[in-house]
């Protein structure tokens, strides 16, 4: 137990700590923690005493429960390690919910680079705390009464919910503003215009992105909200997207989730445990360059609106023909089970699965972790719903671009979908070691 979290020795000392308010919360990040482990609860006992009346209720509640109730027993509640060779949130088994945010850097002038670096360091610190189930800064309560709390507080009492936060850098970051012009990876191309694209600039692009995935939507939203708040003055949110009902699986033994059209899609997705394919198709290698991207990946994000109402009026036969799969089992045409090897020739030439299959695209594979979205209605009473497509790959030029060219030109599914938002990001490798932070290699600093 650290010096800061030791229980006050005397009643007077406890009162003194209570009077100053902030000191108790400062030293112990678990004081306001969302899902205290058993060990941190022991520490909390000390901090809790000193936190005063406001905190006492919550502490008593936590201490009063049985250990079994408190410990994150369910896998869905656990914390995913933040540090590693790769960023979490790519190969990590897909969580249930998404809040994806794209930011523009608003800092300008001479100090802009330093400001951006300072923000990335602060973001890294906050991200690590939040993914481990802790609030940011001094927490959501217990600080100065006259000041707004550091943490917005809506994730208090919630488990870490396998929250992952993944940062990416957009092509627009690599202009003259931050001295990064020479650092832009060749693979970070501007996506070409595909036939049928109807892109809304207000839902496209961005200098930075943060992908928040969690099993609890509140945990994901909380994370983005706090990062946005920390970022005010240096970055401004450009657009964001909530997602639910993961549409891809990165766990090979689970059945593929269904998209809003009711179909299983992306059965051949790269599994998060498939080291061979991850190395071949997802992670940037030393041969690829640049050095700062080794261990990273490239992310394509597309907001794909579905014409839900017309789709729902389409006959089952046509629906199945369009995908090239059965609606029930998700089996390829003529096959029985979802994971049976598809016979592409048995499908219609424009079937979605046939066109998207690696065999039709020079073996191109991506790691997809898209989500469904429903953003209310569009003013005409139609559901504004669809697929928020997220795909990680080693090089956009021989993965997303050729596959999307193929699909945009021929896919019969295009009658029912439209790409309305688009962005591409270079996702740097993971944070590891004491002096590493989001983008430290890019900025050439330790």
């Amino acid at each position: 137990m650290s010096e800061e979290t030791r229980p006050p020795a005397t009643a007077d000392e406890a009162a003194a700590t209570e009077a100053t308010g902030t000191t108790a919360a400062t030293g112990d990040v678990s004081a306001n923690a969302a899902a205290p482990s058993r060990r941190s609860l022991l520490a909390l006992g000390g901090a809790g005493l000193a936190l005063g009346a406001a905190a006492a209720g919550g502490t008593a509640l936590a201490l009063g429960g049985k250990d079994d109730d408190i410990a994150p027993v369910a896998e869905s509640g656990a914390a995913v390690p933040f540090r590693g060779a790769h960023q979490a949130g790519i190969a990590t088994a897909v969580q249930d919910r998404l809040h994806f945010a794209s930011f523009d850097v608003t800092a300008t002038g001479e100090g802009a680079r330093a400001e951006l670096i300072a923000l990335l360091k602060e973001w890294t610190k906050a991200a690590e705390l939040m993914t481990q189930g802790h609030p940011v800064g001094e927490g959501a309560y217990g600080g100065l009464a006259e000041a707004p709390p550091d943490d917005t507080g809506e994730a208090l009492g919630l488990k870490p919910a396998r929250l992952t936060l993944t940062i990416g850098f957009g092509p627009s970051l690599f202009d003259e503003r931050f001295g990064l012009k020479g650092k832009r990876p060749k693979a970070l191309v501007d996506l070409p215009k595909f036939p049928g694209d109807n892109l809304d600039p207000a839902r496209s692009g961005g200098d930075l992105c943060v992908q928040a995935c969690a099993d609890d939507p509140q945990v994901a939203v909380h994370a983005i909200r706090n990062l946005a708040r920390i970022g005010f003055g240096t970055v401004a949110m450009r657009w964001s997207q909530l997602g639910f009902g993961k549409t891809s699986s990165t766990t090979p033994d689970a059945q593929t989730p269904r998209n809003m059209m009711g179909f299983k899609d992306g059965t051949r997705n790269v599994a998060g445990t498939d080291t061979k394919n991850l190395g071949k198709h997802v992670w940037v290698s030393e041969k690829d360059g640049p050095d700062w991207m080794v261990g990273g990946s490239y992310l394509v994000a597309r907001r794909i609106r579905m014409n839900i109402e017309t789709w729902d009026r389409t006959s089952l036969k046509e629906q199945e023909d369009i995908f090239g799969r059965s609606k029930g089992e998700g089996a390829p045409v003529g096959k029985k089970r979802e994971r049976d090897e598809p016979n592409l020739k048995a499908m219609k030439p424009e079937a979605h699965v046939r066109l998207a299959h690696p065999d039709n695209n020079g073996g191109a594979l991506m790691l997809r972790r898209g989500y469904s979205f429903t953003d209310g209605t569009d003013g005409l009473g139609r559901l504004d719903a669809g697929l928020f497509f997220l795909a990680y790959q080693r090089d956009v030029r021989d993965a997303f671009i050729p596959v999307q060219r193929q699909l945009a030109g021929k896919d019969v599914l295009n009658e029912y979908i439209q790409h309305v938002g688009s962005a591409v990001f270079a996702v740097p490798p993971g944070v590891h070691g004491d002096n590493s932070w989001w983008g430290s290699a890019l900025f050439g600093e330790k």
């Binding site: 608003t106 100065l144 006259e146 000041a147 707004p148 005010f232 401004a236």
Partner: protein, 386 residues
């Protein structure tokens, strides 16, 4: 009998006045020569007090005006908030004022001619419990802000009268022209005005701010009601002319009361943030001035008012949190620079009509407000007396 009745009536009046000023309900029982009695002798150039130290608690000021001008006498907190006051003390007359004061420093001010800051005496109430810990720098900031707020109200009245006159003359164009300028002083100091609770709904309520059961035609008063007549209805009715008079009456009420507003460093800091919140919720969206589209004038005024609070608190804040004040300096400048893009002359309040500000520009303004308001929300913590 008659004389006795008259005396007790006089002291009842004094008690009643003290009650208004301080909320005190104690009876006046001070006698001449007792510790609680302070004799104040006012002349045209002096303000003598019989004692400069007295016990905290109930006090009585026995005032005599020996000068040639009508005077008024104030008891003030160190930050210039009024403890109690008595106006209209004619030459050669005597008046009594009572108040209840806690231990601490005060000032007694005589204002011959009832103008200016007055001739002041430092006095001290002693004993009677703990003295509130005060930072003189912060008291100075609050006092200066109080002066600013009063000045804004004083300067707004003539501008509002010009607006009201144009309405009463039925001069649509002149009224439109005078509308936005008449609001600037108000918008700069809105959190203080709002602290009174009753004035804001009379002068600054918007159409959608009316409560259920309130009638748009009968119950809606103030600037925005007139704004709608001028820009949407494009005509001035007899009722509008009455509303113009009412607006002046309500603004005079504001002018008379701002001196007594509860202001402390925390409320100043949070008031600055609240002004930015006003911008974020009402102006950036174009809701505030939905008929006149003069939102950017209000926007600028809100920022100016916030900046005034900040500049006054800065000497203390920059010591406690230099990184914060550095950031605030930067963000105030950035937002002001951004606003300057919407006016041709930096000394004028002629801003682009908000109708003509595109979505992307609105987002840029909104981002600028967020960038300033977030660090501004931390200002209170940097000036709080620990």
């Amino acid at each position: 009998m008659r004389a006795a009745v008259r005396i007790s009536l006089a002291s009842a009046t004094a008690v009643a006045l003290a009650t208004v000023a301080t909320g005190c309900t104690e009876k006046s029982d001070a006698k001449s020569g007792d510790d609680h009695l302070i004799e104040v002798t006012a002349t045209d150039d002096q303000c003598d007090v019989s004692k400069k130290e007295f016990p905290a608690g109930h006090i009585e000021l026995a005032i005599e005006n020996k000068g040639s001008k009508v005077t008024e006498v104030y008891v003030l907190y160190p930050d210039d908030r009024i403890v109690t006051e008595r106006e209209n003390i004619g030459p050669g007359t005597k008046q009594k004022v009572t108040a209840t004061v806690k231990a601490g420093s005060y000032q007694i001010a005589c204002k011959p001619g009832m103008k200016g800051k007055g001739i002041r005496q430092q006095v001290k109430a002693t004993g009677g419990g703990k003295t509130v810990k005060r930072d003189p720098k912060l008291d100075a900031a609050v006092a200066a802000y109080r002066t600013y707020v009063q000045q804004q109200a004083d300067e707004t009245l003539p501008l509002a009268e010009e607006f009201a006159k144009a309405v009463k003359d039925g001069d649509l164009e002149a009224a439109k022209k005078a509308y936005a300028p008449s609001r600037i002083g108000w918008e700069r100091t809105e959190p203080v005005a709002e602290s009174f609770g009753d004035i804001d709904p009379k002068v600054d309520v918007r159409e959608d701010g009316l409560e259920e059961g309130q009638d748009l035609e009968k119950d809606w008063t103030g600037w925005h009601r007139l704004e709608r007549s001028l820009w949407k209805d494009k005509k001035i009715t007899d009722r509008d002319k009455k509303l113009a008079n009412l607006l002046i009456k309500d603004l005079e009420d504001w002018q008379n009361r701002v001196g007594k507003a509860e202001i402390d460093p925390t409320s100043m800091a949070n008031g600055a943030k609240e002004l930015l919140d006003e911008v974020a919720t009402g102006k950036v969206t174009g809701e505030e001035e939905r008929y006149s589209h003069t939102d950017l004038v209000d926007f600028k005024a809100n920022v100016e008012g916030a900046q005034k609070s900040y500049e006054l608190l800065k000497p203390v804040a920059s010591k406690n949190d230099p990184a914060l004040t550095k950031e605030l300096d930067k963000q105030f400048k950035a937002l002001n620079d951004l606003l300057d893009k919407y006016r041709e002359d930096k000394s004028s309040y002629e801003f682009t009509s908000y109708e003509k500000v595109g979505k992307a520009e609105q987002k840029e303004l909104s981002d600028g407000v967020n960038a300033l308001a977030e660090p501004l929300s931390k200002l209170a913590a940097a000036v709080v007396v620990k």
